[in-house]
């Protein structure tokens, strides 16, 4: 099976950009990438949940259109999702028979025969009358795999299958996967955990920002030692070491600048599926760019939200130029010059249906000169929009165009302009180049550099090491909600940060 040149766009971002992936029987193809790299979109197309905007999917050399999950099942593609899809109060047998045609129900003896067949294939024992909810998570997952293979076995897609398993469960799961591979199935194993790739994968593809950035064929992977393979994959995931002339681009910040932002012992409570922060502390000088590195999901977003005031701190203090702002809300901190450029441009940065002009003043609703005695001054908003559109080179048909119709790069330009207006002092840039094309990536980095030169302190959160090495004076590394180290940017910073990112210690 082959997916070639797959491209899929969503409003504002390119989720998959010309991705080509091949699946072979009897092989585990590990698909590695961070959150938002486009893994889920890619397997969504295999499962028939998404359809590509460009590119073709072919099975044994024949082009197919997977228009629905039903079609995917017919082609022998079974998918096991990250989250449980079993009905907990139904028995194993009932769960497996869900989705069969009502006019030709399967007889119980036929069902039991099929169950026995698959159980042998997986090498597990199954009680068809056990209630699904009473089984362990590992057992439930085996049932999920059986369900995926129920109507034919050719391709099995596993989306982050180990995320809810115990170490023991992971081991058992690994055995099942190996057995299925040896039985001749093509297996797609989606994960963001490096060690699992080395453990289960025969072939590795690495996705980053929607693009396929690396691929290791089975022969090569077998020839490498685990250490070599790790180094090479990290290289592909986080970008290569900057070349010497890249480092020359870095700005030099006067070392004795005043402190712009101080964070002391900041903690937030952990929530469901969300890391809490523990004891974060650092100081940010005027004109400095301080980087936050880390594999996605180690608390970076929570740090940004806690600093912006969107997430309540359970302990610790945030001081803006010496003034304690911990008790202030989002609006209060904004007025004092603490700005947050969010990475979720359409989800929280903008109201998609509103015009570019209105979105540009969205953080100033009710303030002069755009509102006078509570009444909207459309002309003032329009004039402001036009000057911002020119100044930040926002490509839009007009100031009245709904902002969701713009490309990701232009939405980012508008948001950047919004955060930069009205006296910014400290700006948190959360993944500012995420989902942008090369020209806009370069432009965004240039803007951050210019802002710092103008004396704005920047906190740059990024999952891309080369970006951090290009822009930052110092780089802190986050791991499981903690700031595990701060590295002075320099020639050997890259490997040291990489080590902290993956292992949490130097």
């Amino acid at each position: 099976m082959r997916l070639s040149g797959i491209t899929k766009r969503f409003p504002g971002v390119v989720a998959n950009d010309d991705v080509t992936v091949e699946l072979f029987p009897g092989e585990v193809h590990a698909l590695l990438g961070e959150n938002g790299a486009g893994k889920s979109t890619l397997i969504g197309m295999l499962a028939g949940v998404q359809r590509p905007d460009a590119g073709t999917i072919s099975v044994r050399g024949e082009a197919v259109a997977i228009t629905s999950p039903r079609e995917a099942i017919r082609l022998g593609i079974g998918t096991v999702y990250q989250h449980a899809t079993l009905v907990p109060n139904m028995t194993v047998a009932e769960n497996l028979m869900l989705g069969q045609s009502w006019w030709r129900p399967m007889r119980r003896d036929a069902m039991l025969a099929r169950l026995a067949e698959i159980s042998v294939l997986l090498g597990v024992q199954t009680d068809p009358d056990a209630v699904a909810g009473t089984l362990s998570l590992g057992q439930q997952q085996q049932i999920e795999i059986m369900k995926a293979l129920w109507r034919g076995e050719r391709v099995l897609v596993l989306d982050e299958p180990t995320s809810m398993l115990t170490p023991q469960g992971v081991r058992e799961f690994g055995e099942v996967v190996m057995r299925l591979r040896d039985a001749g199935l093509a297996i797609v194993f989606v994960t963001h955990k490096l060690n699992e790739v080395l453990e289960f994968g025969d072939r590795v593809s690495i996705l980053k920002l929607g693009r396929l950035v690396g691929h290791i064929a089975p022969e090569r992977l077998r020839a490498m030692t685990p250490g070599d393979a790790t180094a090479q994959i990290i290289d592909m995931m986080f970008g290569r070491e900057p070349k010497p002339n890249d480092i020359g681009l870095r700005r030099a910040t006067p070392p004795d600048g005043a402190v712009a932002l101080t964070v002391e012992g900041l903690c937030t409570a952990p929530e469901a599926r969300q890391q809490g922060l523990s004891d974060i502390g650092f100081a940010l000088r005027v004109g400095e760019v301080f980087g936050i590195a880390g594999v996605d999901g180690n608390g970076q977003k929570q740090l940004a939200e806690a600093l912006a005031g969107q997430l309540r701190a359970s302990a610790g203090r945030v001081l803006l130029g010496g003034q304690d702002v911990t008790v202030l809300g989002v609006a209060g901190r904004q007025r004092l010059g603490l700005r947050y450029l969010t990475d979720d441009r359409l989800g929280e940065g903008t109201v998609g249906a509103y015009s570019v002009g209105l979105n540009l003043v969205l953080k100033q609703v009710g303030e002069a000169p755009f509102w006078r005695r509570g009444l909207t001054d459309e002309a003032a908003i329009q004039a402001h929009a036009e000057s911002m559109i020119t100044r930040y080179d926002i490509r839009t048909p007009s100031a009245e165009t709904p902002i969701a119709r713009l490309s990701g790069g232009n939405i980012q330009k508008a948001l950047f302009g919004r955060e930069m207006s009205n006296g910014p002092r400290v700006v948190i840039y959360n993944k500012p180049t995420y989902g942008l094309d090369l020209a806009n990536i370069r432009l965004s980095r240039q803007r951050i550099r210019e802002a710092a030169d103008a004396g704005v302190a920047g906190l740059l959160i990024s999952t891309e090491l080369d970006e951090l090495l290009e822009l930052c004076d110092r780089i802190g590394v986050m791991y499981r909600g903690r700031l595990v180290g701060i590295v002075e940017n320099g020639p050997d910073a890259g490997p040291r940060i990489g080590q902290l990112m993956v292992a949490g210690s130097a």
Binding site: A308, G309, V330, T342, G349, V365, G366
Partner: protein, 341 residues
């Protein structure tokens, strides 16, 4: 301009199609559809007193429409306007007769309006607080509060607020001469003017002011609202307060302008009738006046036309249901057309 006429067409299409379909059904039942619709119009639009009746019926409906526009635009679904309306009406009719005697007339009227707004807002406080601080779904909680309000109203009318002289459980009657003054000897009382103004003011506030924009941001994208620094729980409370108060004013107007009394078994259920009209108008305050007028014409004219055509009164409900069904269909088709570009 083209977009605006397309919007107008999309809003009117369900009504036109439903009227046509209603005509087919009438014909199938052996009635003359043209005669039926002519009778509807003759009873209302082409009849001075009929037209006045339509205006009077519109007053409480418009205040409820204003109430719904505030909350729907803020993305909050206050479906408890029936309870808020009724409870306010009960308090106004309980204290009205005494207050108009004790105080100068207009002071008493203003006090009663404030009382109505306050009672309704207080009744909405529980779902509002639950929504603002605990994210409890307000659709369910406001609807349930309505049922409690019906029972509480009946209880109050039968006990503390009841007229002991009367065998029927009802409040004291507000004398006809103490009801809201009428305009130029017609049936139309000043409450109708107040209701129209209220809808227009709500529309302007929602579309032209910073406060209205804040509410709309919460409605369109609550996460963006938080990101840009709005205090979402506080705005949620404000929305519920205003929305319920407007519904309560509707109840006050109905008592002070028309009824003068509440019987224990009275609950007009205007609130849920107005919901589809507000959707047809797409939360637009000026457009909703037109749809409320249409509904009032259909109610008053349709009642007499149905009687004369020997049809049950429920035929009007069938019409209303068709309008809603077609509205959903038109929306679905329009969305699909948009999706396909």
């Amino acid at each position: 301009m083209r977009a605006r006429s397309r919007d107008a067409l999309r809003a009117l299409a369900p009504i036109i199609l439903a009227l046509l379909l209603g005509g087919v059904i009438l014909a199938a039942l052996g009635r003359d559809p043209i005669l039926f619709y002519t009778r509807v119009l003759n009873r209302t639009v082409f009849n001075a007193s009929g037209l006045q009746e339509v205006a009077v019926l519109m007053a409480p409906l418009l205040l409820i429409a204003a109430s719904l526009i505030v909350c729907f635009r803020a993305g909050l679904w206050n479906l408890g306007t029936d309870g808020q309306f009724l409870l306010a009406a009960v308090f106004v009719s309980a204290y009205g007769p005494a207050l108009v005697v004790a105080l100068p007339y207009w002071v008493a009227i203003c006090a009663l309006m404030l009382l109505a707004a306050g009672v309704a807002a207080a009744w909405a406080a529980l779902p509002a607080l639950l929504r603002a601080w605990h994210g409890v779904n307000e659709i369910i909680s406001t609807l349930m509060m309505s049922f409690l309000a019906f029972s509480l109203s009946a209880f109050l009318v039968k006990t503390y607020f009841g007229d002991p002289e009367n065998t029927v459980p009802q409040t004291l009657v507000l004398p006809v001469e103490d009801r809201l003054p009428r305009i130029a000897e017609s049936l139309v009382h000043v409450g109708v003017v107040f209701a129209v103004l209220a809808v227009l003011v709500v529309h302007l506030v929602m579309t032209r002011t910073a406060f209205g924009l804040r509410l709309r941001i919460v409605g369109h994208n609550p996460r963006a609202a938080e990101h840009v620094g709005l205090h979402v729980p506080r705005l949620t409370l404000a929305v519920f307060g205003i929305s319920a108060a407007l519904a309560g004013l509707g109840g006050a107007i109905e008592i002070l302008g028309v009824r003068g009394v509440v019987r224990a078994d009275w609950h007009p259920g205007f609130g849920l009738l107005v919901v589809p009209l507000v959707f047809l108008a797409r939360f637009h305050g000026v457009a909703v006046i037109g749809f409320v007028a249409f509904f009032a014409v259909l109610t008053i004219g349709g009642e007499s036309a149905a009687r004369r055509a020997d049809l049950p009164n429920h035929f009007l409900l069938v019409m209303m249901a068709m309008i809603l069904g077609i509205l959903a269909l038109v929306d679905h088709l329009a969305a699909r057309a948009k999706e396909r570009g």
